[in-house]
């Protein structure tokens, strides 16, 4: 699902191993050597942006609870709104919100890249690498701006 740019940069047998449980069995049963120790594989930049997309997604899934709690409290009453405002002045809360919104913005930028790639733009190996680098640079800038806005 949209990971073609990742697997295209890896050996042919890698895609066979990571996709689908039936392929797992094949890889386990075959006598071919299997190298899935990620510490021994040098990951291309596309792999880093891909795994960051996944990590940020999991962080956001957990973060929904925090965001809903804040929204609930801020809408419940004038006192609740003031409490949320008051809470957001503490350095810890600022850091948590900055972290959550950073995950959100990275996920958004990397997601936009997926949509652009779905249109057939940047699907080559070189295009994929360039796209990943653009995602890293753009999200770094946006996250820095977010930090400036929060503090």
């Amino acid at each position: 699902m949209g990971d073609g740019y990742l697997t295209s940069a890896l050996p042919d047998n890698f895609a066979l191993i990571v996709r689908g449980s039936q392929c797992d069995k094949k890889a386990v049963n075959s006598q071919r050597p299997v190298n899935l120790d990620l510490r021994t594989i040098k990951l291309p930049v596309t792999a880093y942006t891909s795994i960051l997309h996944r990590i940020s997604g999991v962080i956001l899934f957990v973060g929904i609870a925090i965001l809903l709690y804040g929204l609930d409290k801020s809408l419940a009453s004038e006192e609740g709104f003031a409490q949320v405002q008051e809470c957001l002045t503490s350095p810890l809360a600022k850091f948590v919100i900055w972290g959550l919104l950073s995950a959100l913005l990275y996920h958004l930028v990397a997601g936009v890249r997926h949509l652009i790639m779905d249109m057939g733009i940047g699907e080559t190996l070189e295009g994929g690498k360039l796209g990943s680098q653009i995602v890293l640079v753009v999200s770094a800038i946006v996250i820095l701006l977010l930090g400036v806005w929060i503090w």
Binding site: M1, V18, R54, F61, L68, D72, L75, F81, L108, G111
Partner: protein
Amino acid sequence: MVTNVTNFSRSGLYDWMAQRVSAVVLAAYVLFLLGYVVCNPGLGYAEWHALFSNNAMRIFSLLTLVALSVHAWVGMWTISTDYLTPMALGKWATAVRFLFQAACGLAMFAFFVWGVQILWGN
């Protein structure tokens, strides 16, 4: 024993499309809300409450909750089927993966109900 269950819709293409469509809704909502907060530095309770009492905003928020549920499910399903495998976990992989996916589905359902309560309860 059943060890291989396909995704919710039993179609990878359908999931792929649902992930993209929900992503666009989520992006629109996030950009709107961030833009609103950035453009209103001295935001007070009255304005904030009025924004979420607006019918259009409630419809947009509910649509976003639906999109979030779809998007989170497809994402967590993809990740769990990629990493919670027999290769990583041995013979308990199917049980662990099932429980993980069930927990994700329950959590997302709870988030959805909570979101609806926030939108119409306040």
